[in-house]
């Protein structure tokens, strides 16, 4: 909206008069400046340092040896890195839809006005409140073959007769880790979907039901389209957190059996913390960043049109 500032009679025209648009520019930049400054110093600068590290062969201590783009070319030929990346992608593809579905369902459930809804809402949100590592250790304990309650409950319910070794099998380990990730993060999606559902104006819903829309049609043609922003938000965050999943697999399966459940972040961790090849690990992180940046910018462009 462009509006020229009102001129009072007698007020001289200033030499450097800013249009309303120019004023908006200045304001806009001003408002984002503090955040930009912080991100520059505490992210962009270390990132630049990491970029430099990726062009070197550098152990934890000692001298760095410049190797140009060697780290990057080695990376793409490194089967274990590619496997780890594919594993993270597979995990995300499987788990993100689950998170969104369960999150949406829970969100719809807790937007009701019934008595007690606040308690339920708090319970579903509670897992978010614990640290990821702590939650992983709880799961490690619950699914322990000997002292874990998961086996005990399943045995008592008659589902199994012999205790399962959850982390000895890639499939069972995957299930255990996925259940952890969903339990831990779905409250987040629920809360976001809640906000999105609330923002759908009641008048529109009333109008649609007057027109004879079924619940399913209302969902599909009224509610969901109006929740694009929220859905995009949930999707982006769920996808990124699943792609960067670390603690669940690191603590539960340790990447095993063998290397069947090693994700890309655990691979980077191993390269940096066990092999001390920080330059190489930095290159992998940069590659990961580029991939995620591409992914996010596509989402942002596609979904967030105001």
């Amino acid at each position: 909206m462009i509006r020229a500032p009102a001129r009072q009679p007698g007020q001289a025209l200033r030499r450097h008069r800013l249009t309303a648009r120019g004023r908006r520019q200045a304001h806009g930049w001003l408002f984002v400046l503090p955040s930009l400054a912080l991100v520059t110093v505490f992210f962009l600068v270390p990132l630049g340092l990491m970029g430099w590290m990726s062009l070197n062969d550098w152990g934890l201590v000692g001298e760095a040896r410049p190797v140009g783009l060697d780290n990057y070319s080695t990376l793409f030929a490194d089967q274990r890195f590619v496997d780890a990346l594919l594993f993270s992608i597979r995990f995300a593809v499987l788990v993100v839809p689950l998170i969104m579905l369960v999150g949406f369902g829970l969100g719809a459930l807790v937007t009701s006005q019934r008595r007690g809804v606040a308690i339920f809402r708090s319970i579903y949100f509670l897992p978010l409140v614990i640290g990821y590592a702590a939650a992983s250790y709880i799961w490690l304990w619950l699914f322990n073959g000997q002292i874990g309650l998961a086996n005990k409950v399943l045995t008592d319910l008659g589902v199994i007769s012999v205790p399962l070794q959850w982390f000895a099998d890639p499939m069972l380990g995957f299930i255990a880790a996925s259940s952890l990730v969903i339990w831990k993060t779905v409250g987040f999606s629920m809360v976001l979907f809640m906000g999105g559902l609330q923002s759908v104006p009641q008048d529109l819903r009333d109008a649609a039901s007057v027109d004879g829309a079924s619940r399913w049609q209302m969902l599909r043609y009224v509610t969901l389209p109006l929740m694009r922003n929220t859905t995009a938000l949930v999707f982006v965050f769920a996808a990124i957190s699943c792609l960067l999943v670390f603690e669940p697999f690191f603590i539960l399966t340790k990447g095993g059996p063998g290397t069947s459940t090693v994700g890309v972040v655990q691979w980077i961790f191993g390269t940096s913390f066990y092999a001390f090849r920080l330059g190489y690990g930095a290159a992998a992180s940069i590659v990961l960043l580029v991939l995620l940046l591409t992914f996010t910018s596509i989402q942002v462009r596609a979904f967030l049109r105001d």
């Binding site: 984002v32 990124i240 670390f246």
Partner: protein, 282 residues
Amino acid sequence: MTSRRTARVRGAAWYGTSFVLAVIFLFPLMAVLITVFKTPAEAVAVPPTYLPSVISFDNFAALWSAGAGLPRYLANSAFVSTGTVLLTVVLATTAGYGIARIRFRGADAVFLLLLTPMMVPLQALLTALYAVLVRIGLSDNLIGLVLIYTVSILPFSVFVMRNAFADIPREIEEAAWVDGCGVLRSLLQVALPLAWPGIATVALFAFFTSWNEFLAALIMLTSDAHYTVPLLLQNITIGKLGSINWGMLQVGILVTTLPCVVVFLLLQRYYVRGLLAGGVKG
């Protein structure tokens, strides 16, 4: 009459589903709550027992007196988390407002830039980040941690606040502008009250993330007096070559979770208030 019965069936279905889900969600935490009161021996019994046979406070006592004492670490963690919440709310609100409302040229690029910190895993960035902090003189300093945590939670927070402000109809604000309201006043008096759920969300996540974070705290803090609670827990629960003291682990989880639950219960009033205010008509 059918509609009344349908309503009752629906009500029952709602309560039934919600209850079953609640039991599933609470189970892991309840299990921890019960186990903290078991003796070290019973905590690792095979097969496990459901309820403790003898109530024991051994683990609590050990936790309280570990290192420089639990209160010290709790104070450090509280300082870091509060600082992170305050800084994050201020920065995310201003940035989100700027991007959503003031459609200046380059807003989209700035938005994307502010999202990038979440795309680099912290483990990878840590060594470089530590080098930068040392240079600035903020290593082994809780304020340094506050700044790092803020940067890591900023992407999510800016996204949420941007969405929160974008959801407010322009007409409301334009009305304010017509009335001669400056941008800042418009933000504070018009937009902000409508964005409470967003602020509550941002505050909650900033608190939880900073309260529970371990790795950055480990690398950045070198003196015991500055340690936060997750470091203490790691020290006392993970023993030789990774063997775990299960009893201490349960107590540690309980102690760290409690403040988060309190904060959550406090803040969710604002959340609900914002939602029940009815959002937006038309």
